[in-house]
Structures are given as C-alpha cells and as structure tokens.
C-alpha cells in the first residue's frame, strides 16, 4: 500500500480532506492536475455570506483550515443581515485571491504526513469483486494504491466551458479538464450527471469610472472567522455598486439566441439562485435594472470581478453590454464571462459519512456531489477527510445532525434528496437555525473535532475559558438590580441592549465583545431557543430510531411500492432520514416504526 489515503483534487474540498487525514496522522497523498492552482477562488473573490459564513466557522470549530486562509487574505469584512436577527447574520469577506491560494499551498506544503503530486487521475482501481477501492490510475500511467480515497474533482471531471459559440474541454478558462474519469465512473455504474455553473467577466480597475458608482465599504473592524484568535489586522479595500439599464437589457435580448444556454448546447442544469444576466433579463422582463457589485480580486492586481452579470453570451455581446453600463463604458475586459458544464455524481449514492454506497473506502466531496460554492465544498471535504480517517481507525463515522450544523443540513439534504441543480447552502434550508448561529459553532463542534483527533487541545481550553466567561457575565447580570428587575431580566426587553447595560455596569467592559454579544443573544432569545429545543426533541425521536444500512425492505409488510423503491435506493440510517425522502409517505414511516419496534422487541 503506497498511502493510507489519497485525495484527488486541490480545491477547497481537497485542501480540507488532505489536511484532516494527515493531521489525524495518516500518510496522505494529494494528487492535483496543477500544483499552481491549489486553493483557487475560481469565481467570486469572497468567502462567507449568509449561512455560508456559518459553514466556514463550523469547519474551523472542527479543526479545518478555511477560516485561517480567509482571515489572512481578507481585504474587506462585513456582517450581513444585522437587522434581520441574530440567527441569520453571517460574516462575509472579500479575499485577495492570490494570497488565499498561496496560503493554501503553503499550508499543505508545511503539513507533515502529506505528499503533493501533480498528475491527473483517470480511473479508480477496485478489488476483484469491484466492491472496494484499492487505488487510482493517472494520466501518466501511474497506479498508486491506498486504503481510502477522497474524490474532489470540482468542475474538472469531463468539464467543458462555453462562451457563445466557442467551447473547449476546460474546467476553468484555459485549464484542461480531467478527461476519462467521468467516463470510467459511468462504466463502473456510478450515477453520473451534468451540471452547469458560470462566472462573470473580469475588468481592469484603471479603466473604470468609480465616480459613477456607489461606494461600498466594509466594517471598520475586521473580525476573524476562526475561533482560534481574537483579532486580525489586514488592509481594507472598498467594493462598488453599479446597475444594468434598459440599453443593457436590449443588447442581451437581441442576442439571446446566441447563448449556448438557450441554443441547447448546454444540457446541465444551472443554479436558479445565481442566474446569469441573460436569465435575469428573460425571467424578469419588468425589472428596469439589475445590481452589479464591482469587487477587487486582490491588492496587487487590477482585475475586478463583476458580481451579478455572469454570462455565456459571445464575447462581442459581452463587450457591448458591459460597455452599456454606467462606470464601465471604457472597461477593459481582461477575462470573459463563461459557463462551465461538468460531471457530478448523484449524492444519493452516498451514506451520510460521504462514503460511496457502491464502492467501499471511496469518499466523495464538493462539487462532485452536485454542490456549488467554496464553503459547501470545504465542509464536505472536511467531513469526508474526517470520516475516511474514522474508517481507517475502524471507528464510527462522524455525522452531524441538522440541529447542530449547516454542514449537517447540507450533507443530509444531499444524500437524502439529491439535487437537481448545483446545491447552495441557504438559511431557509435549516429548520433549527436559532441553534446554528455562527458565533456559537465552537460550542457545538469543537469537542467533536477534538474527539476525532483533529482539533487541538489548546482550542478546547479556549472554548472552556469562553464558556466560563459567559457564565460569569450571566451571574453578574443576575446579581445586579435595576429597579424592580435584575439586569438579566432587563436585558430580555426588546429595546435594551447589552451595550446599554455596559454603560451602567463598567465591570462588563473587561469581557470581549463576542462574549457579551453571545450572552445578550442567549438571554434575549431564551424563550424562542427553548421552544426550538422542544421541536428538536421531537425531531430527535425519529432520528434516534436507527435503521440498518442492510435492512431488507422487501420483508417489511405494508410499504407502498414507491416508498419501498426509494428506501432501497437511499438506504436511510434513521427513521428521521427516511421521513425526509421524497416519495416516502407518512404511512410508510408508520410501518417502518412498527417494524423496527417489533424487531427490537422480538429480537428479529
């Protein structure tokens, strides 16, 4: 055996998977098509956002790397949705994409136990029965063996980019796709499908007229995504906002037939939540304008990202419509917008551990599973890495529940329901989001990261200290009288903030702001959090009814035909998961509960 573990791909999923495996102590190899493109931000030069910021902090709490990378490459920081409530706020940062990628590669290089190798994986090697993975074959005809494999191919597996009439076998503009692997997986029986995504043009900073745009600054104080330290010090750059106009829309409408999306060249389904500008114009004809965020791609570069107008129209059309936009009249287009279509594997063929149901020891993460987004990729890469390590140790996989992490929601959604379009994390996908706040990820996950051998002892101690401080603040508030009430009760009133109390209680000032903020939320939303707890208790009842992966559904009397088929396909590991499968009816669940109960009682 050459390696304990191989990770295929050096994107955001591959980075987390390879670091997790090597940090836990396994001899790991990362194979990538190009060492120079490790950790690239292929699309938007930003990390975080609503619910995505939570994913980053979850990765961090478990012992992953993404938060460190963005903390040391950010050039703007914002907290989104401050006014819409604590449960849905999240941090977002603009990144210097070159710094981000360089830090990623340096981190991998500095990691003991981790080897890096440049080649393209074109096939998997299975055992004689075809049931277990034993290694990979590369383009240059190396066969490398391993005990576990994490597959993170991003948009490269049989990738093809489209710009109007032009198309090429690329995973990113002018970067070769990984040809052969998708076909090999299809022939091995994996359910492979096509998805599509896109990216806007990059334009030259010095050719733009910012005086015609709206300025968008970040927060004055940058806060780290990571729980490992309290502050960061980074340079800050502004973003700008401009809008499309009727003229822009006219140009797009007049040329819509030249889009490969409308011409039928692209078969893969694109994300509805992140439509191309031609989609927006067609679907919302009444809108007079669409917003564009002009974002810097880094400190040392002139490239600016035009967030909001991704497109697959031909370059001459892009040229025209970009120049119709205020502030972009003389924009020099440095890279065109393009669409990319790629192979993904139906994630319903995975267990919640992200291990394949078809081939043992094969774990799959990131865009290969039909997701979209760096953060979605990172959290899957981390979980796949952790669970591959658990498998090597012969221990039970770590599966996060829907009520403890967005990561849990994401993976459960993927393996239970699959996806019809590139899956993006959304706040509204989570049922218990009052419990999934970004500021308390450490409280939910650090211990779990420690238990699987990834999180450091010192971070566990940091968490302990934080909890103690929060307790102390609560005690101080409970003791302090304010008229009839204690300060703690006063804080429950909607109009009172902890800052108001701080004015009267100088002893609070010695605590860090995040501590005070969390206490404030805990106190203010106690009633709702308790109510959600009760919902969670109901939810957990069904989750705790375990189903064996090898359950014989044909032997269960009374299941509907469709329900039986779906259960056999998904092989849920709990009644709760079964209840979320499309096509499984309530009556099927009743039968299942009854069956399990009888089995339990009679030892069948």
């Amino acid at each position: 055996m050459d390696y304990d573990a191989i990770v295929v791909g050096g994107g955001h999923a591959g980075i987390e998977a390879s670091l997790a495996l090597s940090r836990i102590g396994f001899k790991t190899l990362l194979i990538t098509q190009n060492l120079d493109s490790i950790g690239r931000l292929s699309c938007n030069p930003a990390i975080g956002g609503l619910s995505k910021g939570n994913l980053v902090r979850e990765v961090d709490a478990l012992g992953g790397e993404m938060a460190h990378l963005i903390d040391h490459s950010m050039i703007q920081y914002r907290i989104l949705n401050r006014r819409r409530g604590p449960a849905v706020q999240a941090p977002r940062a603009q990144a210097d994409k070159f710094t981000y990628a360089r830090l990623a590669k340096e981190t991998l290089e500095a990691q003991p136990n981790l080897a890096l190798f440049m080649d393209t994986v074109v096939d998997l090697v299975l055992d004689k029965e075809g049931k277990k993975l034993v290694g990979v074959v590369t383009q240059r005809r190396h066969t490398i063996t391993c005990r576990v494999l994490v597959l993170t191919t991003g948009t490269f597996m049989e990738g093809r980019i489209f710009i109007g009439e032009y198309d090429a076998p690329n995973g990113r503009l002018d970067e070769s796709a990984a040809i052969g692997l998708g076909t090999a997986l299809r022939s091995k029986g994996f359910p492979v499908g096509r998805l599509k995504t896109g990216t806007p043009a990059r334009v030259r900073k010095s050719s733009l007229d910012f005086s015609k745009m709206e300025l968008q600054d970040g927060e004055e104080i940058m806060m780290p995504f990571s729980f490992d330290y309290d502050s960061i010090d980074r340079p800050m750059l502004p973003c700008h906002i401009t809008w499309t106009n009727e003229r822009t829309h006219e140009i797009i409408r007049a040329n819509i037939h030249r889009s490969p999306l409308y011409g039928g060249k692209i078969v893969g389904k694109g994300p509805r939540y992140c439509p191309s500008i031609e989609d927006k114009v067609v679907r919302f004809p009444d809108r007079e304008r669409h917003q564009i965020f002009v974002e810097p791609e880094g400190e040392g570069t002139e490239e600016m990202y035009l967030n909001g107008i991704s497109s697959s129209l031909p370059e001459d059309v892009q040229w025209d419509f970009i120049h119709s936009i205020e502030g972009l009249e003389d924009a020099q287009i440095m890279r065109p917008a393009y669409a990319v279509e790629y192979d993904f594997i139906d994630p319903q063929a995975l267990y919640p551990s992200l291990e394949s149901k078809l081939v043992e020891n094969l774990f799959i993460a990131g865009q290969t599973n039909g997701t979209s987004g760096y953060e979605e990729a990172a959290c899957q890469g981390l979980m796949a890495g952790i669970n591959a390590a658990q498998k090597l140790k012969g221990e039970k996989p770590l599966v996060l529940s829907r009520n403890e992490a967005y990561t849990g929601v994401l993976i459960d959604d993927l393996v239970t329901m699959g996806t019809q379009e590139p899956y993006r994390m959304f706040t509204s996908r989570a049922e218990y989001r009052l419990n999934l706040r970004h500021d308390s990820c450490d409280q939910r996950l650090t211990q779990k990261g420690y238990a699987v051998g990834l999180q450091k002892q010192e971070n566990l101690e940091r968490l302990q200290a934080k909890l103690e401080k929060m307790e102390t603040v609560k005690e101080l508030l409970a003791k302090r009288r304010m008229g009839e009430k204690s300060a703690l009760q006063t804080l429950k009133m909607p109009e009172i903030t902890i800052a108001d109390l701080e004015a009267q209680m100088p002893e609070l000032s010695s605590f860090e702001q995040p501590i005070l903020y969390q206490v404030e939320l805990d106190v203010k939303y106690e009633g709702y959090i308790n109510r959600q707890e009760r919902q969670i208790n109901r939810f957990e009842k069904l989750e705790s009814l375990v189903i064996d992966a090898l359950m014989d559904y044909d032997a269960v009397e009374g299941l509907s035909a469709e329900g039986r088929e779906k259960l056999k396909k998904i092989r849920p590991l709990s009644v709760g998961q079964a209840s979320r499968i499309n096509g499984v009816r309530n009556s099927d669940i009743a039968v299942l509960i009854l069956h399990l109960d009888r089995g339990g009682r009679h030892g069948k």
Binding site: L50, F426, S428, Y528
Partner: protein, 454 residues
Amino acid sequence: MQASAPSGILAGMTRYVTDDIIYALATAWAQSALAVIRISGEGCLKALSPCFSRPKALVEAQNATTVHGYIRTEAGENIDEVVASVWTDGHGYTLEESVELSCHGSLSVIKEILGLLGRLGMRSAEGGEFTFRAFLHGRLDLTQAEAVQELVSSQSKTARALALGRLEGSLKNQIADFKQRLLTITASVEVQLDYAEDELDEFVFPREQLETLRKDIAVLADTYQVGRLYREGARIVLAGSTNAGKSSLFNLLLKQERSIVSPVKGTTRDYIEADLSIEGIPIRLYDTAGLREGSDAIESEGIRRTERLMGQADLVIYLVDSTDVSHIPSEDERTIVVYNKSDLVRPPKGRLAISAQTGEGVTTLLSAITERLTGGSHASGDDLVVIESERQSRLLTDAGNALERASALVTLDIPLDIIAVELSEALQNLGELTGEVTPSDILETIFSGFCVGK
C-alpha cells in the same frame, strides 16, 4: 433489526403490536337496544370458545357466517344471548380472524362481557387500532391511511381515533389555499434571510395578507363547534324550582317540534328525557327533578342526579317562576335564564320570558337556544365548509395562534428570524392537515417569485 429503547413515539404505540387479540365496543357506550363488540386477532375464536355456549360451532364457523349462542362466565352462568359474526383470516375489516358479538345494549351486560374478554387474555384496543390493523394488512388503500403516522404519534386516544378522518374536497381546497397564501408570506420573509440586504429590494412585511389569512383560518377553526353540534347533537337540561313549569315547557317543546324522535320514560322519578331537533340540531332534552331542599332521602338523591346532569349539559335552561323571583341564578355561557308565567306577571325588561301555558315567547326561546349552541354562526348553506375533527380544529387553531404571535412580533419590530419561527410553526400545522411543507417548497416559491442572486 435493532431499535432503540421505546421513545415517546414508540411508547405511544408499543401496544400497537399485531400478534395479540384486541377487543372493543364498536357501538356507543350508552344504553341501547343492541350493542356490538368487536374482537380481532389470530386465535380469537378459540380464545373465546370456552365462554361460548356452542364452542365447536364457533371455532368451526365458515367465513362471514353467524353463530347464535350465549356468552357465559367462566363459571358457566349465562351473561347474554348473542349473535357472533365470524370472519376468518384474510377477511373482514382487519383481514384478521375476527368476531363481532351482537348483544343486548344494557350497560351492565356490555360491561360484563368486556370484563370477561379481558380475563380471557385479550387486550382492550387503543383508539384507531382496528383501523391500524386494517391498514397494515392492506385492507385500506394507503392513500386513505396517510394519517396513520399522526395516528401513531398522537398522544390522546381521541386524537388517534379522529386522525383518520379524511379531508373532504372543499375543505381540502380551502386549507390548500391557506397553505399557499402562507407559503407566499413565508417565502417573502425567507428570501430576506437567504440573501443579504444589499442584494434585495426594500422589504415591507406583508402585514395585511397575514391578518386576512389569520382571520380566515380562525373562521374555519370555529366551524368545528358547529359541525360537531349538528353531527353529535347537544344535551339540554331544564332546571328550576319545582313549580317553575319545567314539565309544561318540556311538553310544549316536544309539541312545537314535529320531529319528535322518542319520548323516553326515565327509569327513576328523577328525570325524563326525550330526543327532538331544534332547527336541525339533534337535541336530547332532560326534564329534571326540582331543585329544592329535599326532605326525604329519595328526593335528595334525585337532586344530586339533577346537578350531575346539569354539569354534563351543553346548555341549561333555568326556568324561573315570574311570580316567585326569590332565587335568580346567574347566567353564563352554558346557562340561559328564562322567566316563565309571563302571562301572570310581567318579567324584568330585556329578559327572556315565556308562557309555557300560552306558548308565548317559545319561538324566541328556540332561536336563543340555537344561537347559544352555535355561537351565532348558522351552518345551513350547502357551500359552508365545516371542520369535522377535533384534530383539524386543533391544528387550525394552533396555526392561527402562531400567526397572531407573528403579527404581534411585527408590531414590536422583532427581527425577522424570530418571526420566521412563528410562520414556520403555522406552516407546519397546516402541513399536518394537507401534507408536509418542506424547506424545498419554500425555496421553490422564492425562486419562482423573486429575482435573486448576485
């Protein structure tokens, strides 16, 4: 298969195993001419046979035949003469071996037979359990039995029994309409939580839509009382002092209404009851013994019974003798005070007055009764949608309450993430009526209605 220790859900249904014999009274627990006791489960004929006068005939009976005989105690004493309808395995309601005993409808007989079955090692069925078995054995179309999960997990016996009440077309449409409207409101909030403020247009909470929806839901929820009233009827007790004229009013009401069913003689001297219908509502009317300090033992026993009857009544009509107003009871939502003998003395102004002698004021009294029982809403039109089960009513009420809380939070300017909790609770309640609402439904609504995404 391994299952964990019985959780709440399992605890509720651990008795829902199908390998034992269950029994239950299938007719109402009331004095009547005939009663039916249903027994189901493999081996039930054999189990029953030692206490049946013709054991061999019972055990060997063909499917869908009847066997006449006597049910006897273990000591061999006859309890009742019965007809046993036999269903063999694979037939009948539950598709299990089963037997239905038609016996006399005296409460003491029913009690004794049920007690005997228990001693024979059979188990008293949980509400809905026969249906559950029928469903499990494929007797019911699964689409009809979608409510079984609810049935399994619902706590109360009544809720379980009612869980299978299917939604009728018009009602289903109405609730689907509520759900769609709520989904639209929820999506407009959720999109605010899914995208950053600078990516979306200015948000105004759809307050008016929420309020209209809340009211519409409340109206439908309230029809439950009315629906139940027309289906199950009401008990009305005539009360008042001995000389207030209760018996005259009793007879008058029976005469007034043509649809007299059956005046039944009470078994004792304490009360007489009769069935009639007032404006379509089935009524059981009780004429009670006068409320007077009884001097003899029998009479005070009668008064105790009267008080008990009044306690169980849906409505008490307290008759006051206008010529002797020494004691006037207070009126409440279950009590109407009526002044009788209006032909002799003019009762206080604004009070309900009748003359049981001349019939004056009785029409007014009848409308007052209907008004009081229906809470003012008249379920007469064919187009009126009425809630039929307690479960439906509870879920609608809960949904309405959640929306009311949401509305209050909007007033207080509480952040959207908290308001969303209430909206999702309301959606869940409506979802339990017509099928679940999943986060993907909400996202679908968002994607189809909003221009989102950078």
